[in-house]
Amino acid sequence: MTNLTATRPPATPVPDKRRAAPKRRPRTRFTSEHRTILSPHQLNSRWGRRIYWLVLVSTVLVFTAVFVFPLYWMVTGAMKTGEEFARIPPTYVPSRFSLDGYRQAWELMNLDRFLLNTLQYAFGAWAFALAFDVGAAYALSKLRPLFGNVILLAMLATLMIPPTVILLPAYLTIKDVPIVRLDLLNTPWAIWLPAVANGFNIFLLKRFFDAIPTELIEAAQLDGASPLRILRSIVLPVSRPILGVVSIFTVVNVWRDFAWPLLVLQDPEKMTISVGIASLRANMPQTTMTAALVIASIPTIVVFFLFQRHIMAGLTAGGLKG
């Protein structure tokens, strides 16, 4: 790439030869690996610097106020006593740092049950979605059976119809599964099996598998490898990035979902953490409620910390490249 102003992330700053910059003090110069709307040249001018720092500082301040402060307010709110909680004007730092509010929420609201339930639903959904969707995408991409294209089209067509609009018939199906006549309400199956029916997973996996050279597969076939063996030893090892994306999406979706578990898991012993907390919102003091909210958000934030890279990759997956 021939980019005149771009420099590699340099060990020593490359001197800007094109222009005698106002050299008042030797300062760190703006260089960029990637040229953006503003040129380094503009950023390095005196006013450019001033405006840049003004924008930078105000962005950091505004972002902290808008996105971090509410969370701070939530975490500290749960530490306040009921009296301090309702005080006007509020205290910005709680008068005591105690975890009593959290302990109370944990004991009163059955949070351990809700968390375990959600964990069970999320990982079950992950296992089923991965096993069945990988199998299906592999069959459609590499084994190419009769009517494979029709099936693929029918699976991708479900992408056009968001699950919310078929909420009611889907609920009735779970209540009384046709042919087998089973009532899956208040069982984990109500989350696990519908999680498999995800056209987006099929789309992502199939597209990835399509890019694996057929010659590689045929070579293995000549060596007498069975389709399952090929899947295990050739396809899966090279597909780890996409498996990561699909896994995280599946787990996070189950964790975030509200409407579906609200309908199919109404038994208080079976609820997910979101639905469970919401169901108790009328009967709990606000401090306890707030503590419960903090506890409910910890798992997803931890997942985010651990898998930040995959999540960012997943965001731009699915043909969203600009």
Binding site: P70, Y138, M160, V165, L193
Partner: protein
């Protein structure tokens, strides 16, 4: 990568034997079976059932009766029907103004900054990681007219307190604020990724031609990211038209139906009035509207790859 050269011609002659083809198909369907069953039961069948339900009267005790368009008539005559659609449209529109424009502007600014990038990206994405119900319940407390955070802030700024969720005038916009806050991050990061693919040479050329910052955005950035902007527009419309959690947890559709949404009305028909026919009729209408947007989205995103 070492790739075996495929021999030209005659490569597939061995496959012609019928026994092998049958076996290959059987194996393939074996791999497909799990997903096929799940799609059939939990995706395809419910779609068909939505049509059937919306033309039937069904109390799940007696055998269902076909009633033609009766369910649609009932639903349309419900005074809440008009409010639900108007609110959903208004919510979508407002959420677009806030949730579509704002992330793009934020992404533009973030893309120019050379410091604190990791922090800013992390922070903007933080709310997306909270379960939506948590964000919504958190804001319910902020909206509290007494000790709620927002009225405290207004008080500090010497502004009159608002009644937020309790007033017909501010309830809907309150929902939009929560929704924007918790969804902003993903849009921002997607735009940011798109902005980084814009070739720097184009900006340089524009600059040499004397284009100022705004004109560089208008003539370089926006045309270069046009496709993703369109795709995100459609995605956002599709997502916000299904709004349910916010009215369900914050307002219960009130005050005076000011925040009732289509999906929430559908929920009420089924679970409060026990009228699955009416609910399905609503679902079907929403489905038809969304299919148009979804089809456009799929077309665009396919052209893109």
């Amino acid at each position: 990568m070492t790739v075996l050269q495929s021999r030209p011609g005659g490569r597939r002659t061995g496959r012609r034997r019928p026994g092998l083809a049958v076996r290959r198909n059987l194996t393939a369907y074996g791999f497909l079976s799990g997903a096929l069953i799940c799609f059939a039961f939990f995706s395809w069948y419910p779609m068909v059932r939505e049509f059937i339900l919306s033309f039937q009267k069904n109390n799940f005790v007696d055998p269902p009766v076909w009633v033609g368009l009766d369910n649609f008539r009932t639903v349309i005559q419900d005074p809440a029907f008009k409010s639900a659609w108007l609110n959903t449209a208004m919510f979508t529109l407002l959420a677009l103004v806030c949730g579509y424009l704002v992330p793009f502007v934020i992404a533009l600014v973030l893309n120019e900054l050379r410091h604190a990038r990791g922090y800013l990206r992390f922070v903007v994405y933080l709310p997306v990681m909270l379960p939506p119900a948590v964000s919504v319940l958190l804001f319910k407390w902020f909206y509290d007219p007494g000790p709620g955070l927002f009225n405290q802030i207004l008080g500090l700024a010497q502004l009159p307190a608002l009644s937020w969720l309790d007033s017909k005038d501010t309830a809907l916009i309150s929902l939009v604020i929560v929704s924007t806050w918790m969804n902003l991050g993903s849009g921002t990061l997607i735009y940011l990724a798109a902005l980084q693919t814009v070739p720097g040479e184009l900006y340089e050329a524009a600059e040499l031609d004397g284009a100022g910052v705004l004109r560089r955005i208008w003539h370089v950035t926006i045309p270069q990211t046009r496709l993703i902007l369109l795709v995100m527009l459609l995605l956002q419309v599709i997502a916000t038209m299904q709004v349910f959690v916010e009215p369900y947890l914050l307002t219960g559709g009130g005050p005076e139906d000011a925040t009732i949404s289509v999906v929430y009305l559908m929920y009420q028909y089924a679970f409060n009035y026990g009228n699955f026919g009416g609910g399905s009729a609503l679902g079907l209408m929403l489905m038809l509207v969304l299919v148009v947007f979804s089809a456009a989205y799929l077309r665009l995103s396919r052209d893109n790859t």
